[in-house]
Symmetry: C2
Subunit: 252 residues, 2 copies
């Protein structure tokens, strides 16, 4: 019968809208448990799949989160502020501090799973770095964990020929990080470009970033340029959008 009676909206959308409004109105706050499938079935006189669909709508909107065996709960958001410009200022990495430390002041951040490899450059990266087909790149893959949750995956690509024999090719790139090492090589990054996209994650990414359904990811692709105009690094990052707010400051 699909759509008779009350209104033009399908039942499951009506139920979803009702719950969404209740959350908006503060009836259910962050962390609160919503009426479950059985309760919705009884209250609205619908079949289980219909109640389930309603909750599915809110889930794919990122409003609620289902926990198996426990219930459906209102999600809360505490994004970290990531300053795109100040965090890459030379006085940050020039002073021997980690670039990342400029982001998070007092929360428990861990960088783990650093893996450094030498590989053939992916097509687009090779193009930006100006590499020939035969040239390889040094890839530094990292995982960033904040308060126990994975919030970002990062892959940094540098011309292998340029960074050979430096600390860049080791997991610990030393004080000031990769950019300080590049400066010592006479390739000090002086200009950056960040390109931002937003999309839904693949199933694999959702697992790696521990994302609950309805959470998009942010792709940031940063290119670092030396004084000569040469691109010396390409860094591809994938961020949990529920964990981040990006900020860029600039003049007119």
């Amino acid at each position: 019968m699909a759509n008779h009676g009350t209104g033009r909206l399908p039942k499951y959308r009506q139920i979803a809208a009702e719950l969404r409004d209740a959350i908006q109105a503060g009836v259910y706050g962050p962390g609160d448990r919503l009426p479950g499938e059985n309760e919705l079935m009884a209250e609205h006189g619908v079949a289980r799949m219909t109640a389930r669909q309603a909750l599915g709508v809110l889930q794919s909107e990122g409003v609620v989160e289902a926990r198996k065996g426990a219930g459906v709960f209102v999600r809360s958001f505490r994004p970290v502020r990531r300053r795109g410009v100040q965090r890459l200022a030379e006085d940050v990495w020039g002073a021997g501090r980690s670039v990342w430390s400029a982001d998070v002041e007092s929360r428990d951040l861990v960088v783990d799973g650093v893996r450094v490899t030498e590989e053939a450059a992916p097509g687009p990266v090779a193009g930006v770095l100006g590499l020939e087909e035969t040239e390889t790149v040094c890839v530094r893959r990292r995982r960033f964990v904040l308060d126990g949750k994975t919030v970002m995956l990062s892959s940094s690509y540098l011309p292998a020929a340029l960074v050979a024999g430096t600390a860049i090719t080791t997991p610990d790139s030393g004080p000031g990080g990769t950019y300080a090492r590049l400066a010592e090589l006479g390739c000090k990054p002086v200009h950056f470009r960040e390109e931002i996209r937003c999309r839904m994650p693949s199933a694999e990414e959702a697992e790696r970033l521990q994302l609950s359904p309805g959470t998009p990811v942010i792709d940031i692709c940063r290119t670092a340029f030396a004084e000569s105009g040469r691109a010396v690094e390409v860094n591809e990052m994938t961020l949990d959008s529920a964990s981040y707010a990006l900020e860029y400051d600039f003049g007119a």
Copy 2:
């Protein structure tokens, strides 16, 4: 029976993975039609709801798009590049050109539905603009349409007392737009801050932006500062993430 036999993944995820891989491998290109529910039922020997769930996974990943009565199709992406820094350079709006025109070179862009109102300032906006409870703001709401598709909704807030009697309070803000008018008022914007978030849209937003399921939105909140350090405008934008790639350039 839920989960026996082949593997540990639920059937609908297996089917989804299979289709996803086929798309990745190019078996189905952008715009191509995927096997429908009936076909999946027959090929995999599953019930309709299971085949449906599989397609639902790909839909919520933004990979495919269902068209009622027609089929399920692979989506294609042609994002517009939005340069965050250059587009707000003074020589753009100072020369009497529209800020927006810096974004899109040769595609059919329309700004429509401009509505200008005077309202009480929303709490966060009032705080940034440094307004008292009793002070109102001039709100300029706009809709941006590219190649026939709505790609952005924008609400610009300015102190009503500051802009009273200027073209800012009319739908057509004149050559160079709002910023040129602010300059004439002695409040030339010299510094900008853009804050970016990403999330799934509400049902209402999805409709207004004509988003297919699985498409996140990008929120950009831009604050314009005058020489004095005073915030003179707050612009809240909501973008279709499938239509945009953001770009920011800056020095070390």
